[in-house]
C-alpha cells in the first residue's frame, strides 16, 4: 500500500515508548504493532485523534502517501 505509517518516527521524536502510546490511546500492543507494520486495513478517526493528542502532532505527521 502507498500509505506509510510513521508512528515509529514520531515516537522517537517525542521520546515515547510504544507501550505508553498503546495504553494512552486504549488499544492493545498487538493492534499497535499491526498499525506500525502497515498491516492495518483501516484506522478509526477516534484512534487517529488519540494518537495525535498523545504525540502532539498532526495526522499528516503520522500518515504519508508515497506513490
Amino acid at each position: 500500500m502507498a500509505i506509510i505509517i510513521n508512528i515509529d518516527v514520531m515516537l522517537a521524536t517525542r521520546k515515547k515508548r510504544s507501550k505508553e502510546l498503546a495504553e494512552a490511546i486504549g488499544i492493545t500492543e498487538p493492534n499497535l504493532s499491526i498499525l506500525k507494520t502497515g498491516k492495518a486495513k483501516a484506522i478509526r478517526l477516534s484512534t487517529l485523534d488519540a494518537i495525535c493528542s498523545f504525540l502532539e502532532c498532526q495526522p499528516g505527521d503520522i500518515l504519508e502517501y508515497r506513490s
Binding site: 488499544i27 493492534n31 499497535l32 499491526i34 498499525l35 498491516k39 492495518a40 486495513k41 483501516a42 484506522i43 478509526r44 484512534t47
Partner: protein, 182 residues
C-alpha cells in the same frame, strides 16, 4: 475444541477409506459381477439402463478391463472431492475453520462436482455404453448420454457449494477488514 478435532479426524479417516475402497469396489464390480450390491455401484453404474446392455457375466475379459478403466473417470472425480474433504478436515483439526483456505476447498469441491457431472460424466457414459455394446450385432451398438434426477441432485449440490464458498469468502474478507481496523 477437542470435539471438532476428534470429529474431523474421524471424517478424514472415513474419506481416506473411501478413496482406497472406491477403486477396489469398482474392480470387484467389473471383474466379479454380483459381489457388490447395487447401492455401492451408483457412481460407476453400467450407464443408461433404457438401452439393452449385455449382462456383466457376458462381457469379455478385455472389455471388463476397459470398463474398469473407464469407470475411473467418475471415481476420479469423487476421489478429488474426497481429497478436498480430507484437506478441509485437516484444517478443522488445526482449528482453521473460517479462513480463505477453507473457502478455496469448498469452491474446489463445487467446481469438481460440476465439471465432473457436466463434462466428464457424459464422456464416461458414452464410453461405457460403447464398450459394453461393442460386440453387439451391427445396429445394436450404442453411445448413450443421459441426465437423470441423481445428476440434477449432484449439480444442485455443486452449485450450492460454489454459492456457499462465495458467501463464506465475502464473510472472511469482512472479518479480516474488522480484524485489521485499528
Amino acid at each position: 475444541m477437542n470435539k471438532i478435532k476428534r470429529t474431523s479426524r474421524i471424517f478424514r479417516i472415513f474419506f481416506l477409506t473411501l478413496i482406497i475402497l472406491l477403486p477396489i469396489f469398482s474392480a470387484i464390480y467389473w471383474f466379479f459381477d454380483g459381489l457388490i450390491p447395487n447401492m455401492f455401484s451408483f457412481m460407476w453404474s453400467q450407464g443408461n439402463t433404457d438401452i439393452r446392455l449385455p449382462p456383466l457375466n457376458e462381457l469379455k475379459p478385455h472389455i471388463r478391463i476397459f470398463c474398469f478403466l473407464i469407470s475411473m473417470i467418475p471415481i476420479g472425480v469423487y476421489i478429488f472431492v474426497l481429497r478436498y474433504g480430507m484437506k478441509l478436515c485437516k484444517l478443522y483439526e488445526s482449528f482453521k475453520i473460517f479462513t480463505m483456505e477453507n473457502v478455496q476447498y469448498y469452491k474446489k469441491i463445487g467446481y469438481t462436482l460440476l465439471i465432473g457431472k457436466l463434462v466428464l460424466y457424459p464422456i464416461y457414459e458414452a464410453l461405457i455404453t460403447l464398450a459394453q455394446t461393442y460386440y453387439n450385432t451391427p445396429g445394436e451398438r450404442y453411445i448413450s448420454i443421459s441426465l437423470d434426477s441423481w445428476d440434477f441432485t449432484v449439480i444442485f449440490f455443486a452449485v450450492m457449494f460454489i454459492f456457499m464458498s462465495w458467501v463464506m469468502g465475502e464473510g472472511v474478507k469482512l472479518e479480516e477488514d474488522k480484524k485489521y481496523t485499528v
